[in-house]
Subunit: 353 residues, 4 copies
């Protein structure tokens, strides 16, 4: 079985394991107060151009999302997000379990627009019974989105402007941030996030680390007592240095390893996109990051399922469904070769040749 169903099927980049090995028997203080975390913090603040940010390391994405959101909101406040947002559909109601409503907006290709947010805020303000409704106070975006699409710099700027005009925090979930930054056509940098967001995180789990998300708290209002929240929500790793070590390995030298691994995955995803296209298949959504959503006949999918794993996304019609193929930092070129060859075998010679 060759696995394309997710981007967290393997362990970590060998150089990361190497660092864990080298430092294994050193003694350090716990809970992220060690020198390796300190170093990673500095690296990240420099990378993002946010010298006054606080950087905290968490183990996973759901944990990062619920900790940030519950640290930021009062009980009557909600977080605005796309209906397809991870926090709205794939985290078992973790935000609600912390007491907050996700104010879901219809999304186009996984994205919401500044205008939608502005309209929501305006409607709330104009409502004479607004005390009877949840107050929007934060916007949550994923970059790339859950559908692999990207916000452009100008879209993010517009959203950031709306947030600031309306007193909302802007929070960007970057669980796959590298695959976005490395993607063809992307114009959003680490520094842009540092400028436009109140808080965001740089994903490690899906990007070559064993695990870990680096939360960058740019807005000082969100920094206060944040570590109490990490502890309370169960996210404070005892051996916090494991996180610092991994993020240093990935992000030092201007995120050299991080971006190199991301480019690898994006390039292989491009190869898959080209292969599906060549056979005349369309896509649920256009994207240039590491997730590919072809719409394929059930018969072809049944045949592919014998050797490849992928995940179901959405039924399109009685005979076809959209599925997701993920590449990652660890995907082997040979596995992509094999899939492309099997596609040719199962579908005949590509149309475009």
């Amino acid at each position: 079985m060759i696995r394309f169903e997710c981007d967290y099927g393997e362990g970590a980049h060998p150089s990361i394991l190497q660092r864990l090995q080298e430092t294994n028997l050193e003694q350090t203080p716990g809970y992220g107060e060690d020198v390796y975390c300190a170093k990673a913090r500095e690296t990240i603040k420099k990378l993002c151009g946010t010298p006054k940010a606080d950087v905290q390391f968490l183990v996973g994405g759901t944990q990062a999302n619920l900790t940030v959101i519950s640290a930021a909101l009062r009980p009557h406040q909600g977080v605005v997000a796309a209906q397809s947002a991870h926090i709205n559909v794939h985290e078992t109601g973790s935000i609600e379990a912390c007491g907050h409503k996700v104010l879901a907006l219809p999304a186009k290709d996984g994205k919401i627009a500044a205008g939608q947010i502005a309209a929501l805020c305006e409607a709330h303000r104009a409502d004479a019974s607004r005390e009877h409704t949840v107050q929007p106070k934060m916007v949550y975006l994923s970059q790339p989105t859950e559908l692999g699409t990207l916000y452009t710099r100008s879209e993010l700027m517009a959203i950031s402007d709306v947030c600031r005009a309306n007193g909302l925090y802007l929070f960007v979930d970057g669980a796959r941030l590298g695959y976005g930054i490395a993607a063809a056509g992307n114009d959003v940098s680490f520094g842009d996030l540092g400028t436009l967001c109140d808080v965001f995180y740089i994903g490690g789990t899906k990007q070559g680390a064993l695990f870990g998300e680096a939360v960058v708290l740019v807005n000082p209002a969100l920094q206060e007592d944040f570590r109490y929240l990490i502890k309370q929500k169960g996210g404070m790793l005892a051996k916090g240095r494991l996180l610092g070590l991994q993020f240093s390995a990935l992000l030092e030298e201007q995120a050299k390893l991080y971006l190199s691994l991301s480019r690898h995955a994006d390039r292989l995803a491009d190869r898959l996109r080209a292969a599906f296209s060549a056979h005349g298949f369309s896509f649920l959504v256009e994207s240039r990051t590491n997730q590919v959503f072809p719409i394929l006949p059930d018969t072809l999918l049944d045949a592919l399922a014998k050797d490849y794993s992928f995940s179901d996304q959405q039924r399109i019609d009685p005979a076809r469904r959209a599925v997701r193929f993920c590449t990652s930092w660890a995907t082997k070129e040979a596995d992509v070769d094999a899939l492309c060859a099997d596609l040719d075998r199962l579908c005949g010679a590509p149309e475009s040749v």
Copy 2:
């Protein structure tokens, strides 16, 4: 100012105040453990044909909703409701504040259908990652709905069947139940609710009481320790007898007073509907209960607003919006006369005469 903006603008039916007066200086135990509550419990159990039900009295609807829902659900479970449901849009996220997601379904005229619920349950069961999503465990309906419409008996039966087949509780919010039961064309009785629901409540606040909702817990699984939840959520009225007294007054003799007051309001709402119709205006939704949703020109609304209060519902186009006029147990015939006359004056002779 003549008020049609809600159905809780006045105090209570005089006979209710009379009973409070008569018993005022009697000494009773607190917290609903008095003889008046006991009597009201028996009255309600008989009325609904639910001899084994537990009946508890709460002060208001939001309180009743959040107490019932948090008593019923485990943390990972959610409540299915119409997007327009009161718990989804007008209770400041009270359900989320108790930790639970409202699984909102698109509604037609304020109603959801059995098929939608079945599809949601089926999709959840079929999802290989269902642990990453909220588990549907309860269905919340309002009868009448927030738009004044009514579920028919066969619609409720279908929903109840789907709930039982899928292990979901059915919860009916009857904040305006009397206006539904008394409405022309309604075929759902108190007894039907007792048979089809796991839990429902009979509204007092909007139906002639000073305040109060009588929660009927039919399913024994929902009865266990329910009073702990009432206390914890702040809903246990110290002088609980005030609730028992009021519900006895409203519901004894087969809900004689309750239904009489409801019929009064529904009849006056019918007069309003007829008056708007006669002038050629259409409605956001057809209903026969005490809420009327005409679509009217802004110019007319501005003129009416000088003497009448009503509430905004929804903008229809740049020149017209849907508004809500409510009648109630306390609406004066003369106030309806006045509004009808003003309509004639402002719009000219009715078309249909």
Copy 3:
């Protein structure tokens, strides 16, 4: 059965029912935005010398406590209270259900001291692992306490000073405030609370109203969006004017009726204290408010229980227990006469005569 088990066994002072009657069929806006609430607000702000306070009316004490506390605290913050505090032992974990720990301190006669609070804050600050512990952010006191005792003005001033020095809010639960203000030896006024507290409430339920607590939000930081919280927690009474009307009746003219009713109850409690003393019985705690806690032999209690209700407080030894007798605004002099006579009959002539 003559009831001394609580101070909420009757309805309301007749003049309150009278006002409800007189205004019953008036139409007002809902949710406390009517003229009667406005008037009561002004009355209370004047009474407490807090022209910039926000005043909100809630139905009951548990509701008031949980709404105030959850409005004030971030998730990692807790509320400091006496171990015997109502929120710690008699509200079914309502504060925890809102996510916050009650940081319970040992109490003496129901009271905690400024020094204990200061020590707790100091210990928290000095703890290198303080992020692993709950941060104290509010102090909750009851005046009178659950044991009927009173903080003196200087005790309250010292606590207020400690709170301000440590950035804690001071919250006083005044469910029985009148019985405290009217008590012999009391030196704490409404105005003192307005000066020393960040938020407090003036109880109505136990003081002659059908129900109701008037929350006075003195600190502007606690005023922001407070009404959203009231709604979310289920405490926003639809017919809010019922609360305004009652508090106006009780508190206008410098709380004339409120204090008069309180003095009545305190005087009758003094009579009970004198009667128990005269027969040589001691008390669990000394107090001058409307709660009396004699330590009595089981045999005497069994005899009294045939005609009087009272509540168990604490077993003292195998033969004796402390119980609570409550007087109230509604206690009849004749009922106190009867109890005193029965004491004489059961115990023989009083020792002190």
Copy 4:
């Protein structure tokens, strides 16, 4: 600096890193549904004699505690624990943040007794106002306790009996379980926990793993939908196999490595105890596990602090305080040698020689 301040200062046992290395580029399904977790589950079920248990792997202890407790309790229920319990004092109110009160009992040497639990349950049942109080539903113990002491088998049996008689779940936090099982004088085995508990966990983080706690859900009532809770609370590790691999390494062959590492730590702790004793120092508490709590003069502590880290526990008098020295699976014999030698140097020749 030689660190004795905790037992999570190093990485992992080399054989664990070795396994991560060997399997690093294998592809497996995520979220603990891989073959390595399956294998570890079987190993643990066999070790504990619980063939029908469900075993789930979490990253850390606070996460394990809050997930288990919130999965088990309804909103009005609380968890009984020692005042010194980790969940009561060192997890930033995580249990309260999930809505539940910790019902803290006074502890002796970190332990509570069956009789205390029985008395609490009896008092709750006997309370006529029990609906106004939190219902005890679970008992939480740590084995070893936070003070390094151990429950004996007969103590645990008595507690288990009380729990079953009163319908309470028994939950044992085994974050340092190995140090307990390996301790001199211990008579509680893995199998005993499997028989006596409803749920417990076997700690990895402090016992030689990089991180991880293996939760053994013995009672079927606690197994239902438990994985939803793990996901909701942010504890579902994407690369779950990392946990399975580590626990297999530690626990296979009858926990051979786990117990061997534990014995190492306990033996070195015994050496420290002997050294402090030999100089005439007493201890805050007697224990035979890896935590040592000597009471030492501030002057000595100041001298030691130049080369050794340890943690403050409690001030004993103006000149002395109790501190904690921890050994672990990774403690070097030479570091203990050094500390013993420095003690001799600073205190003079040991008394007992």
